[in-house]
């Protein structure tokens, strides 16, 4: 991230980064853009996290103490939207920007100017989204799933701004995805066939196709909302001949692939980290690739499992139940492969490996609760309770977020040229691990005992576990400040990192010096 002198002999016709603010505003360099994506993502992570703290503070005890129900609903909505679209997705795009060209031996992303634009759209979109908090009538308060007609006829005036923000995010994501696909398909080093691509590249290629397939669907559904709100149509208004359930079908046709968009790149990153710290090749490379493909395809035919209680006919109910259960098979294959990779390896547990191992264990727990939720009759009891909240936080926090932390620690030496502080990083891991489990595991119990989600106040029998959960959440939230400290410290100095700081790591990114020069692979490397 710091301005790096251009030392690569073959690059002497290039110049280094521009000076001052124009470097960041006008840059087309994949490393600069990657860094900006990561910084933006972490900022949004803290903002969304602060909102989660408000939610957990209100839920610390029964009764209303801190916020009113209207504001509580705004917090749950904004927390979800910011974490999904502002924290997790941009973090993966940031990792893709930094690492894809380095992994496939390309000098930059295929479409560098579009890359700049797709990043700078994001701060604009989130400025609009966050500004709704200060508008008359408040921010969106209908949940991140914004079900109609609560979000249309009954939505606050700021809903139109929310729709505009979602449109801009969608444009940004689609451009990012096109860039990823163009880079991977056209700019691989000679000799790197598809089945020789690193798994992070594979998972991102598939993720990019998912993005291109479903972001227009999201844009479509919010446009229909826009029409219903401002132009008198009745897509989702039954009194005008529309159907509120249509909203849910279209939303979840986007929404289910979306959850894989947030986890597949983490699958890829973990598939590099576990072999590196096991000092043993990844078990079942080909089956890993096929499993990701299978998960991506299945993700298009399971959307209605989010809607088991809306009253779809029994044939549909059965189809979506079976299809959903089927996803457990390729997901299981991936978990088995990771465990088999560790089996009889020579393991060490630096921070990236700690996060990766926790990822496998806790994501699997999230997978188990997902399998339980797939059983349609049982889902009638679980649906819209804290059991669901526990489930998706187990796949997203130790899944997506731990995957991102593991990647960050794994590649920080490459980005900064310095080793991060291992003791602090391990502290960050253990506090996050304990805090996260304390926050989210009791939510399973709350859901099974009957606590609905998205309520600002609850009956007395839920008091104990809510208190435990809040304490865990405060612990997890506070711990993330430590990550900021570690990264800043690592950028500013520390033990010099060699080109390949992890002795078991494989891949082209470790053949360039640390920190990676401003321009890399101007001449493509040869892959045997």
């Amino acid at each position: 991230m710091s301005a790096v002198a251009d030392t690569h002999a073959q690059d002497d016709h290039h110049h280094g980064p521009a000076k001052g603010i124009t470097r960041w505003l006008l840059t087309t360099n994949h490393k600069d853009i990657g860094s900006m994506y990561l910084i933006f993502s972490f900022t949004m992570f803290l903002l969304g996290g602060a909102m989660a703290m408000v939610i957990r503070a209100e839920l610390f005890q029964p009764g209303l103490q801190i916020v009113e129900p209207e504001f509580f609903n705004q917090m749950t909505t904004m927390h979800g939207l910011i974490m999904v679209f502002g924290a997790v997705m941009p973090a993966f795009v940031g990792l893709a920007n930094w690492m894809l060209p380095l992994m496939v031996g390309a000098p930059d992303m295929a479409l560098p100017r579009m890359n700049n634009w797709s990043f700078w759209l994001l701060p604009c979109a989130f400025l609009i989204l966050v500004s709704t908090l200060f508008m008359e009538g408040g921010a969106p308060n209908f949940g991140w799933t914004f079900y109609a007609p609560l979000s249309t006829t009954y939505g606050p005036p700021s809903t139109t701004f929310f729709i505009f923000a979602v449109h801009i995010m969608g444009v940004s994501s689609i451009m990012g995805a096109i860039n990823v696909i163009a880079t991977i398909l056209n700019m691989r080093a000679p000799g790197m066939t598809l089945m020789k691509m690193p798994l992070f590249v594979w998972t991102w290629l598939i993720t990019a196709f998912l993005l291109i397939a479903v972001m227009p669907v999201l844009a479509g559904v919010v446009t229909m909302m826009l029409m219903d709100i401002n132009f008198g149509t009745s897509f989702f208004d039954a009194s005008g001949g529309g159907d509120p359930v249509l909203f849910q079908h279209v939303f979840w046709f986007f929404g289910h692939p979306e959850v894989y968009i947030m986890i597949l790149p983490a699958f890829g990153a973990v598939s590099h980290i576990i072999p590196a710290f096991s000092r043993k090749p990844l078990f079942g490379y080909a089956s890993m690739v096929y499993a990701v493909g299978a998960i991506a395809l299945l993700s298009f035919v399971v959307w209605a499992h989010h809607m088991f209680t809306v009253g779809i006919p029994i044939a549909g109910q059965l189809f979506f139940m079976y299809a959903t259960m089927l996803i457990a098979v390729p997901t299981g294959v991936k978990v088995f492969n990771w465990v088999a990779t560790m089996f009889r390896g020579s393991l060490t547990f630096e921070a990236p490996m700690l996060f990766a191992v926790a990822f496998v264990i806790l994501f699997t727990i999230g997978g188990f609760s997902g399998l339980m939720l797939a059983i349609a009759p049982a889902d009638f009891q679980y649906h819209d309770t804290y059991f669901v909240v526990a489930h998706f936080h187990y796949v997203l926090v130790p899944g997506a977020i731990f995957g991102i932390f593991a990647s960050a620690y794994f590649w920080l030496p490459k980005w900064t040229g310095h080793m991060y502080d291992e003791t602090l990083a391990k502290t960050h891991f253990w506090l996050s691990f304990v805090g996260m489990n304390l926050a989210f595991f009791p939510m399973h119990f709350l859901g099974l005992a009957g606590m609905p989600r998205r309520i600002p106040d609850y009956a007395l029998q839920f008091a104990d576990f809510n208190m435990v959960s809040s304490i865990g959440a405060f612990m997890f939230g506070a711990t993330q400040i430590l990550f900021l400290v570690i990264v800043v410290k690592c950028v500013r100095g520390g033990e010099k990192a060699s080109a390949k700081p992890w002795d078991g790591a494989e891949g082209l990114e470790w053949t360039v010096p640390s920190p990676a020069p401003y321009h890399t692979f101007s001449t493509p490397p040869e892959v045997k």
Binding site: Q61, P62, G63, L64, P69, N73, G143, Y147, P149, L150, Y154, P156, A238, D243, P244, K280, P281, G284, A286, T309, V310, M321, M325, A328, V329, G332, F336, V339, M342, R344, G345, S346, T348, V360, I361, T364, I365, L371, M372, I375, A376, P377, A378, F380, Q381, H383, D384, F445, L448, P452, R453, R454, I455, P456, A459, L460, Q461, A463, D464, M467
Partner: protein
């Protein structure tokens, strides 16, 4: 130092008291009181144990690697990276487990969808933020709103045992009879759930969903709305009272009589005091959740009534808004929700409460004429 410790102890004790005094560390789902809920419970336990067994095996291998295959204990890594037989096995075995799991799940689902041959039909309508139960065959219906007071919610007084889970008029069903529920909603999507019945179904405006239950044990069962439906989503409990058949019949007869008496009240000559008294109650149950108890509202979504131009001057407009609602906004049409007496009472109340003091009064007869004009 000791004083501080003592203070901290007291503070901590104070914080933890509500938690400890009602310690309820329930971990699992309840098997419930209906056939459906028992079937669901056994599916839940089966899939849970399957997950536990798979978890023990997978995490077992993993933890063994973590302990035994460390570099620090001098392990040299093996170099294998594929094994076709193992890979086929761990694809096939989970598939078989899933098929085995799908069979009982399918059977339960088919049973849950069979709403035929019901003995009692109840139409359940979700409103922001209360339920209405219409006994279709008996021609009466009533609203069911939460009865927990604001004082309890805002921690001004102690919390009742059934905090947030109590209503003024519970739904009543006969024990042992198959009850069919027809669910719909008036405004946004709600979801009707009683965990102990294993029944949860969305109530969707403009559509009617069907589900059923048969409760075999008399008792009071509590649940909540489970689909986010706006600001008071957390405050619309579901309470069902299951009673023996003869008690149910008696209750139905009483309700029908009460409905008849209400109809007669329209004809009665009402005084201002009577209307104000009734209006205050109606306002509290139908209007206060949006427009607030003191009529201050929460603009812009919910305008203030206190000092409102329409309330102070425009009687015709006021009547129109209350009876027909305002399309495209959260203001519902109360013409079908409230009877003429309540409509007259609440309008009179709004025009004379909180310093509005217009002295205007509208009678149930006038409301009746307004509603039936063309």
């Amino acid at each position: 130092m000791r004083v501080h410790a003592k203070r901290a102890g007291v503070l901590l004790g104070g914080l933890m008291t509500p938690a400890l005094s009602m310690a309820d560390w329930t971990l699992n789902m309840s098997p419930g009181v209906t056939g459906t809920s028992n079937d669901i419970f056994s599916l839940h336990m089966t899939i849970l144990w399957i997950c536990v067994v798979i978890g023990v095996v997978v995490f077992g291998v993993m933890f063994w690697s973590i302990f035994a295959h460390r570099k620090s204990s001098g392990r040299k890594p093996a170099n294998f990276h594929e094994n076709t037989l193992v890979e086929i096995l761990w694809t096939i075995i989970p598939l078989v487990i899933l098929v085995v799991m799908a069979i009982p799940a399918t059977a339960t689902l088919v049973d849950m969808y069979d709403t035929s041959e019901a003995e009692v039909d109840i139409k359940v309508t979700g409103y922001q933020w209360r339920w209405k139960y219409d006994y279709v065959d008996e021609e009466f219906g009533y609203f069911s709103s939460m009865s927990t007071s604001k004082d309890e919610i805002y921690n001004r007084i102690g919390k009742n045992e059934n905090y947030l889970l109590d209503v003024d008029n519970p739904m009543v069903v006969p024990v042992g009879a198959k009850v069919r529920l027809l669910l719909t909603a008036n405004d946004v999507i709600h979801s009707w759930w009683v965990p102990e019945f294993g029944v949860k179904k969305d109530a969707i405006p403009g559509f009617i969903n069907e589900t059923w239950t048969r409760v075999d044990e008399p008792g009071i069962y509590r649940g909540q709305c489970t689909e986010l439906c706006g600001k008071d989503h957390g405050f619309m409990p579901v309470v069902v009272k299951a009673v023996p058949q003869d008690e149910y019949d008696e209750w139905v007869a009483g309700k029908k009589e009460e409905a008849e008496r209400e109809r007669e009240l329209t004809e009665k000559d009402w005084t201002m005091e009577e209307l104000m008294e009734r209006g205050e109650k109606t306002y509290a149950s139908a209007c206060a959740s949006c427009h607030q108890e003191d009529g201050s509202g929460s603009p812009p979504a919910f305008p203030a009534l206190q000092g409102s131009e329409m309330v102070l001057e425009d009687m015709e407009g006021h009547l129109d808004v209350v009876v027909n609602g305002v399309s495209g906004t959260a203001m519902q049409a109360f013409g079908d929700q409230l009877n003429e007496v309540d409509l007259a009472a609440v309008i009179t109340y709004e025009r004379n409460a909180w310093g509005n003091d217009t002295g205007d009064m509208i009678t149930p007869k006038e409301v009746f004429e307004y509603k039936n004009q063309d």
